[in-house]
């Protein structure tokens, strides 16, 4: 999550040269006298620098690239996790099995998509709305900000747990209030496959609204006040100002919001896992990966195949974003 959160900030920072690279790459040109270069980087410095750059690189390669590629390779094998000798190459069998005979796979893909659509349609505009209201410096603005942002601070697992208590068919808040906890009247928010995804999405949207609000609030704080002034001098009303002046300047924020929401919908896991373990109606790709790999079941090859599918979907979404970002950077 932390890597994803920092990534979207790249377009804003791209105008200035990245601070880390400046030391090594541009210093030789900038410092004309060669002896100055020597004075700046002693042998000790170089060792330290090499160490500082090398260690993270090694860690990054080992923990990100090697593991990711190993996971891709394992997707074409079966392995029960016991000894490397038991890894067997099976080609595309895992994928064939996944697409043809796993009754949970396609629903999971579908649910991930629904997750994204709902998050972008409901909490995102709502977060924007709240941000615009809070940006007006109304009274108790800080209190509202804190209240709306609180769900984002709380861990997903805790949110899942809390909402599971609210939805509990026998003793939960909702069923108790509407009297749906008696035989014949049950509303099974957690188990009914027609209901449970929406029930969880309420919880997810509740959290996501606060997240979007903070992102937009940060964006709004960056809008030049002279723009507002100019538009009000031109006689634009509040809505016109927002639609024609403010919203277009929020474009970078919108990109961030889009990327964050996509990532949120692909990595959706903890909330559902705590809520009902990904039972029928709430299957998600991340949960299928976990159920197959973690635990005693240890279908590592099969689980990796699902993870590869998830990776491919992420790439399809992320690559256009990166391409457009880099193109903009080059133009600037």
């Amino acid at each position: 999550m932390s890597t994803f959160d920092s990534n979207p900030m790249v377009p804003g920072a791209a105008a200035e040269p990245p601070p880390g690279g400046a030391v090594t790459s541009s210093s030789p040109q900038r410092l004309k006298p060669p002896q100055g270069h020597k004075r700046l980087l002693t042998r000790k410095d170089r060792v330290a620098l090499g160490f500082m750059a090398g260690l993270p690189t090694v860690l990054h390669i080992a923990l990100v690239w090697v593991t990711a590629l190993a996971s891709v390779a394992l997707a074409f094998t079966t392995w029960d996790g016991i000894g490397f000798g038991s890894i067997k190459w099976v080609g595309l069998q895992n994928f064939r099995e996944l697409f043809d005979s796993n009754p949970q796979f396609w629903p999971a893909v579908q649910h991930n998509v629904i997750w994204f659509v709902v998050l972008i349609l409901i909490p995102t505009p709502l977060g924007l709305f709240l941000a615009v209201q809070l940006d007006k410096n109304i009274r108790f603005s800080r209190v509202y900000q804190t209240a709306f942002f609180l769900p984002v601070v709380v861990s997903m697992a805790v949110i899942g747990f809390v909402w599971q208590l609210i939805y509990n068919p026998d003793t939960g808040l909702i069923n108790s209030l509407i009297g749906a906890n008696k035989p014949g009247h049950y509303i099974d928010w957690i188990g009914d496959p027609d209901l449970n995804l929406w029930a969880i999405l309420v919880a997810a949207a509740w959290r996501h609204t606060g997240y979007m609000m903070i992102l937009y609030l940060a964006g709004l704080k960056g809008v030049d006040p002279s723009l507002r002034e100019a538009s009000s001098l031109d006689g634009a009303n509040e809505w016109q100002t927002f639609k024609n002046v403010i919203f277009p300047t929020l474009r970078p924020t919108n990109t961030i919001v889009l990327v964050v929401t996509i990532i949120e919908s692909l990595r959706a896991f903890d909330l559902v896992y705590v809520f009902n373990g990904g039972a029928q109606g709430t299957e998600l790709l991340s949960i299928l990966v976990t159920n197959n790999i973690i635990g005693e079941s240890s279908r590592i090859g099969y689980g990796s195949a699902i993870a590869v599918v998830l990776l491919l979907i992420s790439l399809v979404v992320i690559i256009p974003y990166l391409v457009s970002t880099f193109r903009k950077e080059r133009r600037a």
Binding site: G81, I82, R299
Partner: protein
């Protein structure tokens, strides 16, 4: 986490267990480096210490086990160095745990789950231990303790049956009789429904309780032999016999508590406690939910009714927990001594004092201190012709957790879609059982 199915102390996440789980997860993060450090420093093998990996993280059993080890130390002078992990975590990490530097002795379950690790060479055979303790156990227990190669790998400590639980007072008030045949059972369900009771309490949110219902109906309908073949992946799930099991299940499904896939077993048990439900099929650990002493005395159970007279009620589902010896114990002699001690009635009695929901695996243990419920459970198990463990202990855990659990939840919601469901199970079963 709560996904880890089955078993006595693996209740899904109740409010308490979830909080405990969070704590456990935090502790795990902190403990992982410590554990590996332990493995290295301990290798200077100390003939006076045996290490033991334990999954009994709950306070009561943890204390009971500690008492057993203390008694062992007193007797032999060998210290038992216990390494307790959160129950679910222990189960989920068992693969990597046994491949790394496991403790000399570790707690585990009888049945396929034990045979699997024995077959992978991750446990040592303990025929020498059984030469001494063999006399303490009935044949059914001996059978449960053997690997596929016929050697012993497991020392059972305690066991508990699955059965239909009910409250004596409810049956008395309404004049219900304990049903022994399927027809009586259906009639009783109908009567209870007419009397405004939920006939069969049911909660399958954690997806494993339905496995227990399937087991009961299947071995009553098709007998123990077919049930084991099915669990071992040999018989086909599209067999007409399996279909008959599901037909029987569909017949009693309308008498089950509604909204079951959103309810935990603890909540379902509470409806039995509060006399809103008439019966509940579960293991004796349902007693944990009867916290009031008078309620507890009111609790009783009967064996799941006969379906096919040729099989009667001869099979009992009795999950058994015990100990195994890891692949290369550092202190083999001490471990063998410990396992021999754990196989004695003495050790079992120390344990049973603290946990009234289970019974000793040994037939020579003293039963005089048993409660009425324990005596009944004991008789039921010792009188059984065959014992099963539980679907996720009798079959491959990967099959039961990734295929059967979601499939049975689906069946409960939509019993009419059984044919396509069974062919889907069979398709997935073939690929899972074909791999390794």
């Amino acid at each position: 986490m709560h996904h880890t199915p089955s078993g006595l102390s693996v209740p899904g996440p109740s409010r308490r267990t979830l909080l405990r789980g969070i704590g456990g997860a935090a502790a795990l993060g902190a403990a992982a480096p410590l554990l590996s450090a332990c493995g290295d420093s301990d290798s200077g093998s100390d003939a006076k210490t045996v290490t033991l990996g334990s999954n009994s993280s709950d306070a009561v059993p943890k204390k009971a086990f500690a008492e057993i080890y203390a008694a062992f130390t007193k007797k032999t002078g060998i210290k038992v160095d216990v390494n307790t992990k959160d129950h679910n975590t222990f189960q989920e990490q068992i693969n990597s745990y046994l491949q790394g530097t496991p403790d000399d002795v570790f707690t585990w379950f009888a049945g396929y789950r034990m045979q699997f690790f024995a077959g992978k060479g991750l446990a040592s055979p303990i025929d020498d231990v059984w030469a001494k303790i063999g006399g303490n156990f009935p044949d059914a227990m001996k059978q449960l303790s053997k690997g596929a190669d016929g050697k012993y790998y497991f020392v059972p400590l305690y066991t508990y049956p699955w059965a239909m639980f009910y409250r004596k007072s409810v049956f008395k008030e309404n004049g219900y009789e304990v049903p022994t045949t399927w027809a009586q059972f259906i009639a009783l369900c109908k009567q209870m429904k007419a009397d405004g009771l939920v006939p069969i309490a049911f909660g399958d949110k954690d997806a494993w309780p339905a496995l227990g219902t399937f087991d009961q109906i299947n071995f009553r309908t098709n007998g123990y032999d077919f049930h084991t073949e099915l669990m071992a992946g040999k018989a086909s799930w599209t067999d007409a016999k399996v279909r008959a099991t599901f037909d029987n299940w569909a017949e009693i499904l309308p008498y089950h508590q509604e909204g079951s896939t959103g309810r935990t077993w603890q909540d379902a048990a509470q409806t039995l406690v509060s006399k809103k439900a008439g019966m509940y099929l579960l293991g004796t650990f349902v007693g944990q939910q009867f916290t009031n002493a008078t309620d507890r005395e009111d609790l009783d159970f009967f064996a799941f009714p006969e379906i096919d007279p040729s099989f009667g009620q001869d099979t009992v589902e009795a999950p058994t927990d015990g100990f195994m010896l890891s692949k290369s114990p550092k202190n083999k002699a001490g471990s063998v001594q410990l396992l021999e001690y754990l196989g004695t009635p003495e050790a079992e009695q120390i344990y049973l004092k603290s946990d009234p929901n289970v019974v000793a695996a040994s037939t020579t243990a003293d039963t005089s201190s048993y409660s009425a419920l324990q005596k009944k459970a004991y008789e039921m198990i010792s009188g059984a012709k065959s014992l099963t463990q539980f679907m996720d202990r009798d079959s491959r855990p990967d099959f039961t957790s990734t295929v059967m659990q979601p499939a049975l939840q689906k069946f409960i919601r939509d019993p009419k879609g059984i044919d396509s469901l069974l062919s889907s199970i069979e398709r997935q079963k073939k690929t899972i059982f074909a791999s390794s």
